[in-house]
């Protein structure tokens, strides 16, 4: 879906066709959920927060000035919502990064779409270690590495979303990667 379509949908919503917002939710829910999930580590809670983010986005839709891409504006709301949520719930310092549905822990299926998956396959143990180490990252690093390395956003987009300048984005990404690499190296993963 192109950015033009986003604007078309937003205009329809603003003109009163609220149900059109479902298209925005469907388009961005996976990305939003994934980001939230890696910040909090709990499936059910991440789902609730994702829903809250979309409610906030819909209610704030009138204030979207179309000066940036809609996705950038949405991600800014998402990042700020997560920060505020963390402030209110300071217990999120060391939550194990696993998927829970109710009391049951659920395994994740990781689809490897790279050229030679047999060479770089990530097994369940590696995935568990990786998630544990992501969860242990300092918040600034976790936030920026999720946007950059998991979501693949550009430096410029990250700069807009986080409201920090480009050189700070780069520094934080370099430091975050170095930190995570050292942690994964210590766990024998890299």
């Amino acid at each position: 879906m192109s950015p033009i379509n986003d604007i078309e949908i937003i205009n329809r919503v603003l003109e009163g066709d609220k149900s059109a917002f479902a298209d925005i939710i469907k388009k961005y829910q996976n990305m939003v959920f994934r980001y939230v999930y890696y910040q909090f580590g709990n499936y059910d809670e991440a789902l609730d927060i994702t829903q809250d983010i979309f409610i906030t986005v819909m209610e704030a839709l009138g204030s979207f000035r179309q000066e940036s891409k809609f996705s950038t504006w949405l991600y800014s709301i998402m990042v700020n919502h997560c920060k505020n949520y963390k402030k209110k719930n300071s217990r999120y310092s060391t939550v194990p990064l696993k998927i829970f549905r109710g009391d049951e822990e659920v395994d994740l299926q990781l689809q490897d779409t790279r050229e030679n998956p047999e060479e770089r396959i990530i097994n369940e143990d590696s995935l568990r270690i990786l998630k544990e180490e992501i969860n242990k990252l300092p918040e600034d690093f976790r936030e920026i590495l999720t946007l950059r390395d998991i979501e693949g956003l550009s430096y410029n987009e990250i700069s807009d979303i986080l409201g920090i300048n480009l050189s700070n984005v780069k520094v934080r990404i370099h430091r975050g990667r170095e930190y995570l690499k050292n942690r994964l190296h210590a766990r024998g993963l890299v």
């Binding site: 609220k18 149900s19 917002f21 479902a22 939710i25 469907k26 829910q29 996976n30 959920f33 994934r34 999930y37 890696y38 499936y43 789902l47 994702t50 829903q51 979309f54 409610i55 819909m58 209610e59 994740l108 299926q109 990781l110 689809q111 490897d112 779409t113 790279r114 770089r120 990530i122 590696s126 990786l130 992501i134 590495l145 390395d149 998991i150 979501e151 693949g152 430096y155 780069k170 990404i173 370099h174 430091r175 990667r177 170095e178 995570l180 690499k181 994964l184 190296h185 993963l189 890299v190």
Partner: protein
């Protein structure tokens, strides 16, 4: 001195954000430096692991319907809250109008006067003259001169006594001409010294030959 590549160089190389020249430098260095090559491979593997998480298949329930439902409900609530002041104002207007109409809330000046805040001294004096069927003749910052009917003297005295206002009756010759000109100075009032605070406050100038009595209230 042989310098290894920095984390910035390696990270930028992975992100393909180096210039051609910088990129060649990094490639050339890694070709001869095993330490930097290992560092690069570790860092690159780390980034590959992270980017692999993008393909994670989360099974999400349909949150569209619930989200839209919550949005609609919150909007209704917001509209309701916005309308509360208008509703409250309408209810209040209807209630007051109803109370006035049914007589629960007397709509007359006596009620209003009785419920006004405490009156100041000037208002008390004006009321005293008004209640004695009199009229104000002149007023300045020190005193108020009024004129009342002879027959209202009793009422005025009752009022003064009731309000513990000290007063003194002074007989003065009071001519018809003076009344017409309303010139109290010539009627002898100018000769009356202002009372001290312990005395008080009202001089009643009486002329048995006139139907009018002049009253000077000192503030």
């Amino acid at each position: 001195m042989f310098e290894h590549l920095t984390i910035e160089q390696l990270s930028d190389y992975i992100d393909d954000s180096l210039t051609e020249e910088e990129k060649n430098l990094v490639v050339e260095h890694m070709r001869i430096c095993e330490i930097c090559r290992c560092e690069y491979e570790s860092l690159n593997q780390c980034v590959i692991y992270m980017s692999g998480l993008r393909n994670e298949a989360f099974q999400l329930p349909d949150i569209c319907e619930k989200t839209l439902l919550i949005c609609r409900s919150r909007e209704k609530k917001r509209l309701y809250i916005k309308s509360i002041p208008a509703i409250a104002a309408s209810v209040m207007i209807i209630a007051v109008a109803g109370a006035v109409k049914t007589g629960l809330y007397p709509d007359n000046s006596a009620y209003v006067a009785a419920n006004l805040p405490a009156q100041n001294e000037t208002q008390v004096i004006i009321n005293a003259i008004r209640d004695s069927n009199g009229r104000i003749m002149s007023m300045n910052s020190d005193y108020i001169d009024g004129e009342i009917d002879n027959s209202s003297l009793n009422n005025l005295e009752k009022y003064l006594n009731r309000n513990n206002i000290k007063h003194k009756i002074i007989p003065v010759k009071y001519t018809e001409a003076v009344i017409k000109n309303k010139n109290l100075q010539n009627a002898g009032l100018s000769s009356i010294a202002a009372p001290s605070n312990e005395e008080k406050k009202v001089h009643i100038i009486r002329n048995k030959n006139s139907s009018k009595i002049t009253v000077r209230f000192y503030k």
